[in-house]
Symmetry: C2
Subunit: 249 residues, 2 copies
């Protein structure tokens, strides 16, 4: 990252990138390591979200896209702002203060960060910047990592927002092929919720959703009994929205 712009020292952006690989839900994290030059001892080794400071001459949303691109090479990924984290002590624990001093890039002692999140098909992106030690971690593993700053809290809030959002918005379908099986759909929801879903109940609910359209087509070239294919109709989804939610709820 070449810095030709001046950063705003007390405002950053952190992106929580969720990736679905058709088996599990993952989160994208950057390894942070600080080794003491004299002793060779590892002083800090933990993980951060993909984040950085915004520039003085840059709109906030643009900064989020720029930072994600700089750190991961990802472009054209939809990011959504979810919460600002503004506690006075969010970067003040000792290891984080050592890290900020070590970087020596003029960051403030107090930094507010704006959280953005995204849900992507992780098989469609390549981690090109791997010298920066960027990795996907399954959600379960991520919970048990050592985190920098308040990034675990930001990650957990993003996960909560994502889980609520897939209940009411059809964002999950963007990760599936245009024609999908109900098993694929169920797997996606199980991955996001992090819990198994009863197959019979799940199918019962699907039948009630007019916007999930059963096709007269089955899978081809699979080693098992081919399953029926379905598609998501955005048109029907929008048309039936009012009825489904009603004026209330």
């Amino acid at each position: 990252m070449t810095i030709s712009h001046k950063i705003i020292s007390n405002i950053s952006v952190d992106c929580v990138i969720f990736g679905f690989d058709f088996e599990k839900l993952n989160v994208l994290l950057v390894e942070r390591e600080l080794v003491d030059e004299k002793s060779g001892r590892i002083l800090i080794k933990d993980f951060t979200l993909t984040g950085y400071h915004i520039f003085e001459d840059e709109d906030l949303d643009k900064a989020a896209y720029r930072i994600l691109k700089d750190l991961t090479g990802f472009e054209n990924i939809y990011l959504e702002q979810f919460t600002v984290f503004g506690k006075t002590d969010r970067v003040s624990n000792e290891k984080d203060q050592i890290w900020l001093t070590y970087l020596n890039q003029g960051f403030s002692e107090r930094i507010l960060t704006v959280g953005y999140f995204s849900l992507i098909d992780s098989t469609k992106v390549t981690l090109s910047h791997n010298e920066r030690k960027i990795h996907w971690f399954p959600i379960d593993e991520a919970h048990n990592l050592e985190w920098a700053f308040d990034h675990k809290q930001i990650f957990m809030k993003a996960l909560e927002v994502l889980r609520n959002k897939v209940r009411t918005e059809p964002i999950a379908f963007e990760l599936l092929p245009e024609r999908f099986t109900l098993t694929q759909l169920q797997k996606l929801y199980e991955a996001i919720y992090g819990t198994p879903i009863d197959k019979r109940n799940f199918r019962k609910k699907i039948v009630q959703m007019p916007f999930i359209v059963a096709l007269k087509v089955k899978q081809k070239g699979v080693p098992h009994k081919p399953a029926q294919l379905f598609l998501f109709s955005r048109e029907v989804f929008e048309k039936t929205k009012k009825e489904r939610l009603g004026f209330l709820f």
Copy 2:
């Protein structure tokens, strides 16, 4: 407002306070006026949201409550963060720059603001600080006012968030008496949506909601035919949430 704390010059909070008065939905605005001392000419006369800068030693959420209290006297009002507004030019138009120079309180040329919103029963609060020219404006009128900064945009975003939120969360019931009539409930939704709702359709939907409980009690002491009373059961609402929304939608 006595300033004994140092402000953060580039971060503010703006609160969009919606008030329902049992007839219409209103928004709380502060008059901003700047008169040229020599000529007596009015240089600026427009409206702002209730907002100010956060202090260096203050958590973001606390700042929102402090600012609302300082400007309006309101306490114990639930505020919810909704969006950060971070465009580079959001306070850079001429009249806003004149205003910031006039105040001379060390604000930055670029300010990010965190939007908070609230929905309250406006008949239960008193505007005690009226020397500051704080007023309720009906939503329709507010649209046609002259606004400061990007505050009209913040207000409109808050209104959109509120309208979505009352579809899925039972926040509207907090504004009604414990026992309410369906006409009162309909009026509230009409006020929030800003559009009339068909009475028959509305009642049909209500009947399908197990958490709106019909009581064997009618209104008393009203000049018209007394209407049946209802109550909102949070317990039933929570219990039936999963069924209603399903795993999806």
